[in-house]
């Protein structure tokens, strides 16, 4: 991203000063194709920076919320960054090449650029909050499948509105639109 000129009020272009961020953040889709994909509910295939073995970690009986630490505190479960990894891996399994790889990244000040597997697009306008679901004893697997059998998390439960509403109906939770959409 190179500094570029931005339009000023009087029509002339102001050159950006060194270090200034350029660009505009909008809710517009970047391309027409992306808009069509969103319309048809097609999700791009992401490649994760690292093949994270969920199965091994879950197999060692590490609870989900140990790494996804926001899950019982607020809306976002959070995708753990390298800092979280290094809490354990500073000492554990340091001989594995993958661990050495992430240790090197950490030393360079880089974080893992995880791709989101679940989550809603902006124009779903969903304000989902994990914490109350955890409090009401909804199993992680209900919405995320059995991650313990996966390496990289796979999106194998489709979070359609019907999926949410069914569960809300069964558990007599509110199905008012403003429960989730605001």
């Amino acid at each position: 991203m190179q500094p570029t000129a931005v339009p000023s009020n009087d029509g002339s272009d102001i050159a950006l000063l060194p270090g200034q961020v350029s660009g505009v953040f909008t809710t517009a889709r970047p391309t027409f194709g992306a808009a069509v994909d969103d319309f048809l509910n097609r999700r791009p295939v992401y490649e994760q920076p690292l093949e994270f073995p969920h199965n091994i970690h879950v197999g060692k009986e590490i609870a989900c919320e140990v790494c996804h630490e926001g899950v019982d505190k607020g809306p976002k479960a959070g995708i753990p960054g390298l800092r979280t990894c290094m809490i354990c891996h500073e000492a554990i399994a340091t001989d594995r090449p993958r661990i050495q790889q992430i240790t090197a990244m950490r030393d360079k000040g880089l974080d893992l650029a995880w791709q989101r597997v679940y989550g809603f697009s902006n124009d779903d306008h969903v304000r989902f909050n994990h914490a109350p679901h955890i409090r009401n004893k909804v199993e992680c697997a209900t919405c995320h499948g059995n991650v313990g059998e996966q390496t990289i998390a796979q999106r194998n439960v489709e979070h359609t509105m019907g999926f949410c509403v069914n569960c809300h109906n069964e558990r007599k939770a509110s199905i008012d639109c403003l429960t989730c959409h605001f």
Partner: protein, 451 residues
């Protein structure tokens, strides 16, 4: 002057189908170009956002909804009039019905696109249709827009059927006169018409049923369109008169549209022998009646508002009467009332030219009428702080104008592919009992005077 006989009818009316002049291509190119311009403008609007229009807070409807109501209004000429004339068995209707019904079909199609053009997110327009969704969400059946969806669809289906049924025998004629691919296409359209008495009987029965059924649908459509306005608590919208007022206005503008179309057809397709001054005279009289009716409704609507003397209503009232919108308002009154009264009320002026001039005035006037219903009221609701004035932008003007091009294009294509005058009905007239001597004399006179 007598009606042409059978073989001449075939020759005259099938000529456009079998002989293509450069004029046809020119017309298609011109109107097609206009339509393409309109479509691309709309694509641009859908891609960039609705902001390229002049719509603003608080005037959220403008040219598009005006055009929507206008075209739905135009559509009332054909089917409704044709059905009524058919039911009362008015003999002179025969050359007029098909071109009138075609107007209905095309105007409805064009009108029905406007609710989609005007949507902020047109790609979700299908949500207006009741289809079973996995979210178990249906359209809101309390919304007049959903009623519109049903009313327009019903009317469009009915009208196309009503248009199509009486073309079947004529399709058969074309089929029989053509070869190759064309024969196949027209053969399919003729749906196996052989002209057996049983088929004729069924056609007549079907037409009779359709004619009866389509009238209430037509009346309901524009009543429902008027509900778009009268259901909202906007000053001067929220009134009971809108239903009949809109229906009357629709028929009014529809007849005007029909007259213009007839005059153009007469000229371009050389149908002077079929579309007679009589038809213009009769429709002119009908137009005069509608002008008076329209005048009554407008007067009534204004009077009730004035008498009610609600401040918010009066503010809108004065804005149209003597304020910002007064020039448009008085143009409308001139076009819709003064001009028709002079041109159609005085027998000497009720010529083809007179009728067409009056009709053009009325089409303009009725477009303005819808604009004046929508825009001044929205810009002048209850709280003065939020008053605003709407001005259209070029994209809106282009799209609204392009629909006239679309109408012409569809009509040109229709006239090219279908005999624009019902051949079998004309021929059938030959076998009818002799007409009333008086009317023959009058036809004679009018025909002479205009030869």
């Amino acid at each position: 002057m007598t009606q042409p006989s059978g073989s001449k009818i075939n020759d005259d009316l099938l000529r456009p189908l079998f002989h293509t002049s450069w004029r046809f291509f020119l017309l298609v190119a011109v109107f097609g170009g206009i339509v393409a311009l309109g479509l691309s403008t709309w694509m641009w609007q859908a891609r960039n956002g609705y902001g390229i229009t002049g719509i603003k807070w608080p005037v959220y409807w403008g040219f598009y909804i005006t055009s929507f109501v206008f075209w739905i209004g135009i559509s009332h000429a054909g089917t409704l009039i044709s059905a009524i004339l058919r039911l009362v068995n008015a003999g002179w209707r025969r050359p007029v019905t098909r071109c009138a019904e075609a107007i209905t079909g095309f105007a409805l199609m064009i009108g029905a696109t406007f609710p989609i053009i005007h949507l902020g997110r047109p790609w979700l327009a299908f949500w207006l249709a009741p289809y079973p969704s996995d979210r178990l969400i249906w359209p809101n059946f309390r919304s007049p827009l959903v009623w519109d969806f049903f009313a327009i669809n019903t009317y469009l289906t009915g009208s196309l059927l009503f248009l199509f049924l009486p073309i079947i025998p004529d399709f058969a004629v074309v089929r029989d006169k053509s070869t190759g691919l064309r024969r196949k296409i027209y053969g399919a359209l003729a749906m196996g018409w052989r002209g057996t008495p049983k088929q004729w009987h069924r056609l007549e029965t079907a037409m009779q049923i359709m004619a009866v059924a389509i009238i209430p649908v037509a009346v309901s459509v524009h009543t429902i369109v008027s509900f778009d306005f009268s259901m909202a608590p906007v000053p001067t919208w929220n009134t009971t008169i809108f239903g009949p007022y809109f229906v009357a206005g629709a028929i009014f503008s529809g007849i005007a549209g029909l007259l213009i179309a007839m005059a153009l057809l007469r000229k371009f397709l050389r149908l002077e022998e079929y579309l007679l001054p009589l038809h213009f005279d009769n429709l002119g009289k009908l137009l005069l009646v509608m002008a008076l009716l329209w005048g009554y409704f407008v007067f009534n609507e204004r009077l009730v508002t004035y008498y009610g003397n609600e401040p918010a209503h009066m503010a809108v009232f004065w804005r149209t009467q003597s304020g910002t919108f007064a020039p448009l308002y008085w143009t409308m009154v001139t076009c819709n009332f003064v001009l028709p009264l002079i041109l159609l009320g005085i027998r000497r002026f009720r010529t083809i030219t007179g009728c067409v001039i009056a009709s053009i005035g009325i089409v303009i006037g009725m477009w303005l009428e819808r604009f004046l219903i929508i825009v001044p009221a929205l810009g002048h609701k209850y709280l003065p702080y939020s008053f605003g004035i709407y001005r259209p932008t070029p994209p809106e003007i282009i799209i609204a104008s392009a629909t006239f091009g679309a109408m012409c294009l569809l009509y040109v294509l229709f006239a090219k592919t279908v005999p624009i005058i019902s051949m079998w009905e004309l021929k059938a007239a030959d076998h009818l009992p002799a007409k009333h001597p008086h009317s023959t004399a009058k036809e004679q006179r009018l025909g002479d005077s205009h030869a």
